[in-house]
Symmetry: C2
Subunit: 361 residues, 2 copies
Amino acid sequence: MDLDERKLKILQAIIRNYLETGEPVGSRTISKYTDLNLSSATIRNEMSDLEELGYILQPHTSAGRIPSDKGYRLYVDRMMLEKEEQLNQATQEVKELQRILLEREDKMESVLKQMAKMLATNTNYATMISAPQVRGNKLKFIQLSRVDKCQLLTTIVVEGNVIKNSMITVDELLDDETLLKLNILLNTNLNGLPIEEINLAMIAKLKQQAGDHAGIVAEVMDAVASQIKNDENIEIYTSGANNIFKYPELADNQRASELITTFEEKQLLTELVNETLTDETGTGIQVYIGNETPVKTMKDCSVVTATYELEEGMKGTIGIIGPRRMDYDKVIDTLKTLKSQLDTIYKKDDGQTGTKIDYDR
Amino acid sequence: MDLDERKLKILQAIIRNYLETGEPVGSRTISKYTDLNLSSATIRNEMSDLEELGYILQPHTSAGRIPSDKGYRLYVDRMMLEKEEQLNQATQEVKELQRILLEREDKMESVLKQMAKMLATNTNYATMISAPQVRGNKLKFIQLSRVDKCQLLTTIVVEGNVIKNSMITVDELLDDETLLKLNILLNTNLNGLPIEEINLAMIAKLKQQAGDHAGIVAEVMDAVASQIKNDENIEIYTSGANNIFKYPELADNQRASELITTFEEKQLLTELVNETLTDETGTGIQVYIGNETPVKTMKDCSVVTATYELEEGMKGTIGIIGPRRMDYDKVIDTLKTLKSQLDTIYKKDDGQTGTKIDYDR
DNA sequence: ATTAGCACTCCTTGCGGTTGAGTGCTAATA
DNA sequence: TATTAGCACTCAACCGCAAGGAGTGCTAAT
């Protein structure tokens, strides 16, 4: 049995209707809803076929039909193809995004938080954004400065302008000259070096050259090391977790509790981010329906993600998490425009006037 | 009518029982539960009195009694007095705390996050911790460093070792000498200055002295300004929000949604932090029952908070949020030990070897 | 191929009765 | 006078049952 045009239309009608109401939809409804001018009986026959093919299912006999994951999948795939041609109009979301970006927020963190929030309020779903990951991890700059009599400040900058500070308390009193020497030692040996290449031998050599002040070198290296460690757990911001309560199918205690935990322990979301970053489909938009999602707690949800890229290799993920009966149309559209905005805004002016954002931690 | 010893014992028994079960407790239960050897009829009479006095109430006729806010309040006050003498034993929590602190985590943020999490898992309530607030806001150190040909790094350290960085992109090529001059200019004029005293006149003067490089000074001042702004919204970490689902009285959609939102939009918790930091009761432990809490969304919860102090003036708040029928005994005990640990650990060694924590942002 | 008609399924709703925990009151008791 | 036993009463919770209704599958007619 094959999916002819009519079956597709009916399936689409079922899904559209179910997205709105969240209730199983019956044959009579479809018979009126569509412009096919078919009686409910005919629709019933077709629905019976669709069920056999696995695109829809019945919660129980004598109930209407609801879309299956397979049905949603077909719907989403077709829809995304149709959308491809359509121009991205300037939506409300884009306007808000521009407002946010224009506000000269100089902290990546707060920009991302605001974006997540904006998306959540606009879509009525839960959202997450991962901060762009720096791939290359070359050391760009190391500096020791005296802040107090016995307190030194280490400042480390790695490629991508991620900055890291830490305080070191010293026993010995260092004169300015020694400090300068240490700075030169560190910079000449480490600048431009990929962090991975800093091994024990390297550290031993540095310590030896530092002589009396090997302890300080050790502390600086600790700070560098913790920079690497810190890079492994991606920064993720979420918003609108409370939106799940708007969808009865997610709002029962069991599920809600699990989902809330997932949003709180953002670590659980890294799996999602990793998944999206590796699996490239060209458009940069991914749709995970129900069991397809990489995070088990979201098996009753659908997740739509977009990967964005700021500079070469600085990739991040935006995700929208809602019920299976998510308004895929709107969500995909929103993410597409957002993604293209982000991609272009940051790519077009990579010169002098560059963005105001720095990736300060 | 007065509260004699017997009434108190009965009230206490009612509350104890209710804390455990969450169900209204009846006269027969109390008659068996206590060692008073009274029949249920007598208990009924006493309960009737207690209800008239407002310490307990009936959800409906022919149901048992549950404690009122007034009843809880009495219970908590008495209990805390009794506890006063009792020694703090080394509980599970303290052991874990010590483990966390010993792990040499050098980021305040991750220590606090871990503490919140630890508390949440140990108590089965939702928790929050506010990062210690710096009161005095003197500038301690300002530095401009060259990172790249046309990128400068501003490093600002204020009293309390809060560090702030930002990147500045410059059009003009600065030679090292100019950079040194700018650094001297900034440091001689600003070091030790309370941030509030940096006014327009001051800035104008600096700009004038900087001559050609007034633009850079402006950007540095912007960075300082955003440091102030950033200080207004307190950093708050939460954990265990999902625990609210363990208490049916909080787990209905309406309430749960509100609470989750409160935990997500941590700004709403600042009110709570401010409240606790001002209202000093000596012990540093506060208990808010039901409507007493400063955050409206928590009107059906109880909140127990402790204020801790790291260095002079560096105060923060730890809060535990649960249902009215919270295990006050355990929670207060836990917070007390935690607080005293924090207070002492940080106060006893304020010399050379000082703590490993720096307040890097 | 489509549709009208009909029997059937099964969830939902509402209703009445029963149960049981708990109360308040009264009268008896120590 | 304080306590207690006893009893009638209340009310949420539970159960079973019938009615209603939305929806289906099937069959026969168009």
